[in-house]
Amino acid sequence: MKTALICGISGQDGAYLAQLLLEKGYTVCGTSRDAQMSSFSSLKRLGIYNQVKLESMALTDFRSVLQVLTKVDPDEIYNLAGQSSVGLSFELPVETLESIATGTLNLLEAIRFLAKPIKLYNAGSSECFGNTNGEPADEQTPFRPRSPYGVAKATAFWEVANYREAYGIFAASGILFNHESPLRPQRFVTQKIIATAQRIAAGSREILRLGNTAIQRDWGWAPEYVEAMYLMLQQPQPDDYVIATGQAFALQDFVAQAFASLDLDWQAHVVIDQSLYRPTEIAHSQGNPAKAKRQLGWKAQFAMPDVVRHMVAAGNKDAGATDSFKFS
């Protein structure tokens, strides 16, 4: 039986990946910076909280990483940890860089130090590409990141590629385009839209304030994106893959879809707020997942309209929760 270590198990992808690997018979161990303080509400929501072993691990602390790797002795490591919000990265630039770039480097160094055949999946991001005006981005498209988050993810991507080439470590980056689910916290715009629309449908008279709604994104369904992560580590050779639906929609389309599914007219409830614009914004982001289809046999089954439908159907148990703070 294989053992997997999921760094950042308390997040959306960590929870879905844990569920997938448990189904495949893995022993699943997960880490969070402070496993005492974390509520692990996503694991609880999926009903798998008691099936995973949890460890505290600070990715910015080499000894902490080395100690957990030694103790858990994993066959596969999935690095999903780090500050994960593009918007928040403008507020926490240093922590974003350290948690992502230093964190990934410590993992690679620990694997190198232990000299064991540990496979590493590293969570890359479409934010590395910046604008993909014209052609959908594939694995050959140059990076042009436009946020502290994108810069940090690009750094981590090259660290992975370098350790693969320099030391023969089985390390793969998945360049995942946006992927959503009911486990997204409300500081992400998709969940904010769904949760607000649901409150309005239930009688709330609030106004939904959004930044730039003309931006276009390639939105997929997170539970199927974690399958791609798993598949990358089952290949004979490590490689990097773009994971996307291949279809881009405007944020305005997402909003319209969400409100329409609740029989609401979005234009009556949405206000554009310039203060929510990001310092630098990506106008168009679209991926080309041809390589993943060809080599991994992976293809997205769901695009934006399905994602909205799933998120609305799941309801939002956390609607109104105090999780947007000042970054609403």
């Binding site: 960590g14 496993a35 005492q36 996503s42 902490s64």
Partner: protein, 356 residues
């Protein structure tokens, strides 16, 4: 209206201090670390939507390891007082993550002091600073009891980082005329203590044993002696330090010391159980270097701050047991009334056996 900025607001002390400051009419701003899921349960009862008129508690994403963000929060909040309670606060865990502990505890304090130094020089607005020191700094104790003049001998990465933060605070007070105070707080507990801290681990185990959901309690060193007080009393001392005419450092303690065995005696005895039947030894809970005896001399805090504890050791143990019994839906076997006004226990559940 005064504004306070609190790091570590989601912790035990942060939550009690926020309540105290809100009671005193402060506007309270807390720094919270980004997390995928929420861990603000200790302050949820005092949090209101910040868009509402009259909201007095505000939260900001930040991190003690990110100095530029701390500076931006300081500029935005313009606080009169800063309470630095943020840390990797578990001593045993600091042996596993020494670099992270030093970064958050030691460097984190320096980043705050640096930010205050520049802000105060530029704006002439005074920012008073409270640094959460720890009795762990005395470690291998050089005198009994320990006072403000007892030399330190830290025995863990946590304590070493706290000593660094302590001296930096004093240096910034003397070099740049900051109103900066160190509170050297001895152990202080409550029903909001994290469940892996030894006191809470015991009181929670007692409640779970009563409820039939736990059979054994695994412990490390039972001979360690500590000076244990009630956290709610201790946050009052923090506030008092920043209300004085001059900044200074203070030991905050009860002046009594008790062993973990005594804690077990009272805790189990309170519900008519004999702890010897439930407690088993596990060397995973031993620290590489142990601190044997801590007992503080709170004379200075008493005379200068007029501070003293409101709860005895026995009352503290019992109030924690009361809260944990209530939290698991049990009633006291002797039908006793709570020792103090009822306080809710915060439970985040023990996470597997693999944790500290």
């Amino acid at each position: 209206m005064k504004r306070a900025l609190v790091t570590g607001i989601t912790g035990q002390d942060g939550s009690y201090l926020s309540e105290l400051l809100l009671d005193k009419g402060y506007e309270v701003h807390g720094v919270i670390r980004r997390t995928s899921t929420f861990n603000t349960d200790r302050i949820d009862h005092i949090y209101e939507d910040p868009h509402k008129a009259g909201a007095k508690l505000f939260l900001h994403y930040g991190d003690l390891t990110d100095g530029t963000t701390l500076r931006r929060i300081l500029e935005e909040v313009q606080p009169n007082e800063i309470y630095n309670l943020g840390a990797q606060s578990h001593v045993r865990v600091s042996f596993d993550s020494p670099e992270y502990t030093a970064d958050a505890v030691g460097m984190g304090t320096l980043r705050l002091l640096e930010a205050i130094r520049d802000y105060q020089a530029r704006t002439s607005n005074e920012v008073r600073f409270y640094q959460a020191g720890s009795s762990e700094m005395f470690g291998l104790v050089q005198a009994v009891p320990q006072s403000e003049t007892t030399p330190f001998y830290p025995r863990s990465p946590y304590a070493c980082a706290k000593v660094y933060a302590h001296w930096q605070t004093i240096n910034y007070r003397e070099s740049y005329d900051l109103f900066a105070c160190n509170g050297i707080l001895f152990n202080h507990e409550s029903p909001r203590r994290g469940e892996t801290f030894v006191t809470r681990k015991i009181t929670r185990a007692v409640a779970r044993i009563l409820a039939g959901t736990q059979q054994k309690l695994y412990m490390g060193n039972l001979d360690a002696k500590r000076d244990w007080g009630y956290a709610k009393d201790y946050v009052r001392a923090m506030w008092l330090m920043l209300q004085q005419d001059q900044p200074d450092d203070y030991v905050v303690a009860t002046g009594e010391t008790h062993s973990i065995r005594e804690f077990l005696d009272i805790a189990f005895g309170y519900v008519n159980l004999d702890w010897h039947q439930y407690v088993a030894f596990d060397d995973r809970y031993l620290r590489p270097t142990e601190v044997d005896l801590l007992i503080g001399d709170p004379a200075k805090a008493k005379t200068q701050l007029g501070w003293q504890p409101s709860v005895t050791f026995e009352q503290l143990v019992k109030l924690m047991i009361d809260a944990d019994i209530r939290a698991v839906g049990q009633t006291h076997p002797n039908g006793q009334q709570p020792v103090l006004a009822a306080e809710d226990a915060i439970i985040r559940q023990m996470v597997g056996a693999s944790l500290v």
